[in-house]
Amino acid sequence: MSEKKQRGNLERREFIKISTAASLGLATGSLWMPKTIRAATDDTSRVVVVFDEQASSGSQIDPEIARIMLDAGLKELTETATPQDAWLALFPELTASMSMGIKIACLNQTLPTHPEIAYPLAESLSSTPVGASNYPENQILIWDREDWELINSGYDLNTSSAGVRCFGTNNAASGGYGYPQTIYGAYQAFSGCFTGHSDRLINLCSLRNHTISGVTLSLKNHYGTISSPGNMHPYDCDPYIPALNLALRETYGEREKLIVCDGIFGIHTGGPTGPPQFIENKIILSQDAVALDYVCRDIISGYPCTTISQATHIETSAGATYNLGIADPADIEIININNPSSTGIQPGKNGAQPSEISLGKNYPEPFNAGTAIPITLGRPGEVRLEIYDVKGRRIDMLYQGTLSVGKHAINWNGTGTSGQPLASGRYFSRLHVDGKVHSRAITLVR
């Protein structure tokens, strides 16, 4: 029996336990708390969405607020107490001799990955102790295709042996492009910035739609890693984008351990070029590029955007052929952090313990008659669990009150506030706790 199959059976058994006990709990008017429940993090991906209304003022981005947002997101993503612990959780093998690339997206200089995000990210990393000293900032390279694109996007070229380095693949310091290989029929050589200066990689993209591929986020950001991106655009770039990402992994290993989207501003029409069209004030983080792109695509789809349906490369990336990540909303745990700059979440200062708060995948999923929503709390707290529809309307309030430490399950029978049965479709469970909002998709099938 395959591991996946075994897991499936285990989940079913657990669901029976949960749903039976949940029913008993509801019947007796108390909230059931299972003694054992498997963590809902297997086969799921976490995406942290950090919003801060002070992130920008007009077109100016505050790098100090960005640093607070990044550190808050890193801690939540890794469930660690400090940003430094977060970096070591993301890159446990990190040493001072290891290079770290930050692949930005600056082909559109009116909406690039902003320096006000990239440099604070580098600063956070270089504050992390590795051995006797902190991680050397000169081991960090911020890069994209061309020097002039970096300059026009507000970056300072630096090929010296001091400070955070920054240059393009066309700079002699990069080593240029390597020998080409075939990727889905297209000859492509990889950037020396990736092959020679990025033992590990942070993919730092921006938030834009794309006339051809629907959206251009972290997966497509690697079009700036190859020599001839122009010939990878047929068929809405699908499966060129997943094929490229797979080729990078197969050729160079899993160097990319952190994916970040600079979502302070965004473009919903006419991208990838053009000026910003909306202000989002968000930074999105994940270890799963596919899940991050899925969530960011959802953000863009909240604006008038006619190219969303073309972004099929995200689902293809998650499919069996490429298996690059998760694009099933039921398996993506979204954690929202709001205004960390004004709620006292300071990098490395609050000494907070790992949050250990999770909103698990509901069982069964999809469901018809009823489903149990697992919640895990690392410390007691006031919680609110609600159901929303895809238009953002609150459909039902399932629980509001204090929950103790441990694992809980709350049942939902697919009805609205007044008990009316709801139509088939996608809904969202939203758990409010400690000023954060955790969200998951739920599918109701009538």
């Binding site: 007009g58 077109s59 082909l107 559109n108 009116t110 026009n152 794309h210 006339t211 051809i212 591929s213 251009t216 001839s228 991106p229 122009g230 655009h233 501003f265 029409t269 006419g270 991208g271 990838p272 070029t273 053009g274 000026p275 910003p276 069209q277 909306f278 202000i279 006619t306 190219t307």
Partner: protein
């Protein structure tokens, strides 16, 4: 005699063609068929206080256009793209330094550029119409920029300028650039 009449008539006709052609050229030193997009770029100082920043980026092939405007190039290629140019200008808006981007493309024919104009990924819907060229719109919905889209003859022109909290001034500057380009085309 008839032969002389014939010769005089022929000479007169030729002279008339030459004469007409001469004055036609004098009125329109740049025949629309021979215009290169780089020739349509306003010179430094043509709009007071605005100078070119760096060299223009010129695209005459698919790859060059991709390098210039990335994935957005596909729609231009679908609608008769011949060549395009991208030029930045530096000036001031609201008393602060500002950047203006000017993109002009030759789309082969007025019909092609009209079809390009109908693409909502190039010219979004809901913009403010403006009386310039064959069709023009001003995008006043952007948070930090003003953008103007114009089609005139077979050329598409887009002007994008930072607002710097001085929207009317920014619009006026953008309009000045658009008018200068269209005047050159016509």
């Amino acid at each position: 005699m008839n032969r002389r009449k014939y010769i005089i008539s022929t000479i007169s006709i030729i002279a008339a063609f030459v004469f007409t052609g001469f004055f036609s050229c004098a009125e329109n030193p740049q025949n629309a068929d021979s215009i290169l997009v780089v020739d349509l770029l306003p010179a430094s100082g043509a709009i007071t206080g605005w100078d070119r920043s760096g060299s223009p980026g010129v695209a005459q092939t698919n790859d060059q256009l991709y390098s210039l405007i990335n994935g957005a190039s596909e729609l231009y290629l679908q609608h008769g793209f011949v060549e395009g140019v991208l030029q930045d200008y530096d000036g001031t808006i609201g008393g602060e330094a500002a950047n203006l981007g000017l993109f002009i493309s030759d789309q082969s024919s007025p019909a092609d550029v009209e079809a390009l104009f109908d693409e909502t990924e190039v010219v979004p819907t809901g913009l403010t119409p403006w009386d310039l060229g064959d069709e023009a719109y001003i995008d006043e919905t952007l948070p930090f920029h003003i953008t103007i889209h114009v089609r005139a003859d077979r050329f598409y022109t887009r002007v994008t300028v930072e607002k710097n909290n001085a929207e009317e001034e920014a619009k006026s500057i953008a309009q000045g650039f658009a008018q200068t380009v269209v005047a050159e085309i016509q």
